[in-house]
Symmetry: D2
């Protein structure tokens, strides 16, 4: 029967932990992991509970139904995720293949638990990579002034394939607010800089010009404000004056791929709760 994972948030107050953990104890659940966090500045309470469903008499529907009651009573905002339901992830790419290879290799190796029903690109270049991994590839080229039409095609593809999560693996298009509204908190982007430094284009060249001593990458949820969405994961690497802008690009590729893969993993493992502009990312 696998596992169920609850992501919960509510107003912080006394006794929440006792009440919620009491619920699971009362049903004789084996709690595999429970993590909580009280944000005292914002007076919010966040919680992740993972329970074992083996040898549990309740159906998913019954479990959800019962938790719904306590959630209403306690005014909890929550989502529940069953390990049986594998997320369906669409990868959107342009011409750069490094993040794509890394994500697909991790899926193959069993280190990213999801389905990849399709890969979408605005360029035909990476079709061969999709072919290698036997994943349907859709090229949706973007013509000047026809942004809305192109997005419509992409959205239809996503919908038709029942996509749960959209990963922008170096997809070099700016998404419209309309597009983002279709997948709120379900679009992950990789920005090739240590945000909020070097928002916008050409970050490696600008990093070189500014003479920084470390470069980084940032994975974040996409929001209508470009490069301003809640950050899931960041990492950096030390550089020196000897590294040219091209070297930074190459070093950056290795940072980007690991940052994006980690962020997608955190999302797929239901370890992320969005809290305004911030994210709560529970450790594994």
């Amino acid at each position: 029967m696998g596992k169920a994972c609850f992501l919960i948030q509510t107003e912080d107050r006394k006794g929440i932990l006792a009440e919620i953990s009491g619920f699971f104890a009362g049903h004789s659940f084996n709690v595999l992991q429970s993590k909580q966090y009280s944000d005292m500045r914002e007076n919010r309470y966040y919680m992740r509970v993972e329970v074992d469903l083996d040898n549990v008499a309740l159906t998913h529907r019954a479990l959800t139904g019962e938790f719904d009651e306590i959630a209403k009573r306690m005014n909890l905002k929550y989502s529940v995720h069953f390990s049986e339901d594998r997320a369906r992830v669409a990868l959107l790419v342009s011409r750069a293949s490094h993040c794509l290879y890394d994500l697909l290799a991790h899926v193959r190796e069993g280190d990213l638990d999801c389905e990849i029903p399709l890969i979408i690109s605005n360029h035909p270049d990476l079709e061969h990579v999709a072919d290698m991994f036997n994943i349907p590839f859709f090229c949706c080229p973007a013509e000047p002034g026809k942004n809305a039409a192109q997005e419509k095609v992409v959205l239809e593809l996503l919908e038709r394939h029942k996509i749960d999560l959209v990963v922008l693996a170096r997809y070099m298009r700016i998404l419209s607010e309309n597009f983002i509204d279709h997948y709120p908190n379900r679009i992950i982007n990789i920005h090739h800089a240590f945000l909020p430094a070097f928002q916008g284009g050409n970050p490696y060249l600008r990093a070189w010009q500014r003479g920084v001593k470390m470069i980084g990458a940032t994975a974040h949820y996409a929001t209508p404000e470009l490069d301003e969405g809640p950050i899931i994961e960041q990492d950096v690497e030390r550089i020196t004056h000897e590294d040219s802008p091209d070297d930074l690009k190459q070093i950056g590729k290795d940072i980007e791929r690991r940052v994006l893969t980690r962020a997608v993993r955190a999302h797929l493992e239901h370890r992320v709760i969005i809290a305004g502009r911030r994210t709560i990312v529970f450790a594994r």
Copy 2:
């Protein structure tokens, strides 16, 4: 009235979290932070609970008494720490001053919450540092073949000053099992290598000879087996072929100071539980 911090461990089983958090909810405590960890390999449960004592009617004694009952019933092994009781820490040094300066500066800046009633050394060299910080300094020289006698003097000093924690801040003596038994799990040592690599003497020279590309330092509780005690904190820094053994020593000093200070801080903040050869170090 400050805060109380409970460090708890017991056999892992269903319902522990609900029962313990129920205790604190039942007494209307404001739980500031609660963290748990189930080690499924060893079937052990570890927990840290921090509660606010302001506006709480219970005395320390009454609180401890009540928790004692639940602890007996649930077979919990635990310790409780009140923020009022500042730990009394003895620093043992030899000739190297870098860790000593860093610890004392952090105490002065308010970033290590403890008293330093005395500094003990087997050499007179660092008396001037103790003087700068107005801390009594005791020189207990070690003569060949008179190890036991020297340790006896040190132990008497520690006892007379009611020491809670002994920090070996580059104290270049091997402690006897007898000495260590007086302060079980209450002696923190800094080893100038990334354990278990380079146990024993001269680690930087050996690291150079082996040609490693990173060097590190390790803070651990002292046990009778040299350099084998439970590790609290480690860190490393990248080096290159250009760094001589002397460079490694200098780079290493900066790693040692931050690793030891972090480990002492984790201990003083009651974030460490010893579990056999391993430590549970709860994040801040």
Copy 3:
């Protein structure tokens, strides 16, 4: 015409830099990069010089011939590498695919400049990966007691394909001294621990048992002494008490892949000189 790269070592003494750089200046070479290192402990001098061959009248043979003379006169030990000559690299694997995917993706992306004429394994499992990348795959199973025979087959394959560099990308066999002698300083291995800690088998389980707070991986040249060869690259990642041995394995895979890829890149870019048990790794 591309570039030529000289890797030089000799006894350290006055005037070497002037004499060698004088040679290149005398022939009006454009020196793209020159790096030197004097190991004062061992009294050895190491140098890497990269020169532009565009608009240079000398043939490769003539250039080598002329440098040979100065090398004899100055008693230099050296090798020269022309950018035209792409290294031919054999990948040896067993069942784990993570390093294999990362190396092949980097080759495809143009970030590892080499040919991969074949992949060899003692297991059939990864043939599909070789197929994806259109690389011939040879399965050379190892039967108990027939180690020498299996190695003979592998060596013949390597010879037939004119292999310059052998990369053990999680090849779970211990190579004989005879095998290693066929490719001195030309076999790179990835060890899944931060050497010299946890030499030998099962390093992640042993790291968990020891309770270390960081785990790492080490890429090194293979020598007859297991896990004792000169280290090219190492890296680590922070772990916590919550990470199980399986988590360490998964975290470790990401360290292994980046460490091995970096080491192979350094070798292919002619940035590594072996100096006894140590390596000189010139920065890019």
Copy 4:
């Protein structure tokens, strides 16, 4: 007689290395270390040469004179530094002591080679630290609207004490262009953020609000444009959602102290050349 260190820059062209190293070889100097870097984007050549002065017949003046000639002929911009001449460093502070302690401890331990003739502050708070280390302390309070008068007092102190380098160790004043012009490329500031992110005030609070997953610090030369000067050193540390703005401040203090100390060390060891908005920082 110690050592001499030359920092050189010029237009990049063929034969520079041969000519300059030929100069030192011609005078039979023992070159301890020589590092070069060609910035091909800007067509500039940068070099650091360290020579042994023991057993050398030339006086400092004669050496400088001779090098002056080759510098004129080759159009080199250079500075020369003799190890005999210890730099005189002024520390400017406000109320935070962490960088001050770290710098002074490193000087005491022999890991920063300089004199500290005085400490200047706009507040009286840290006089006791200066006293501990027996360093004259000058309090130059800043009254509203009397910025120029205060700076004049500070400048006179610096001049009277023949200061070579000014270190702003969390000096919470914005310096005027006039002040900076008195010490071009000789004022090092620590900014408590990973520049160019979070320029200006309150960076830790803003980092918390933005939800970044790493925080950092930046040491740079002060220029009239606030937080825009050439960066010498940066470092970061990973944080989590659990870290409050106050935690970030505390974590940040440890990053700031090590970043500033490393930057000052690089400057004092004559390893930094300023190249427009960038710095060339030669490795040790």
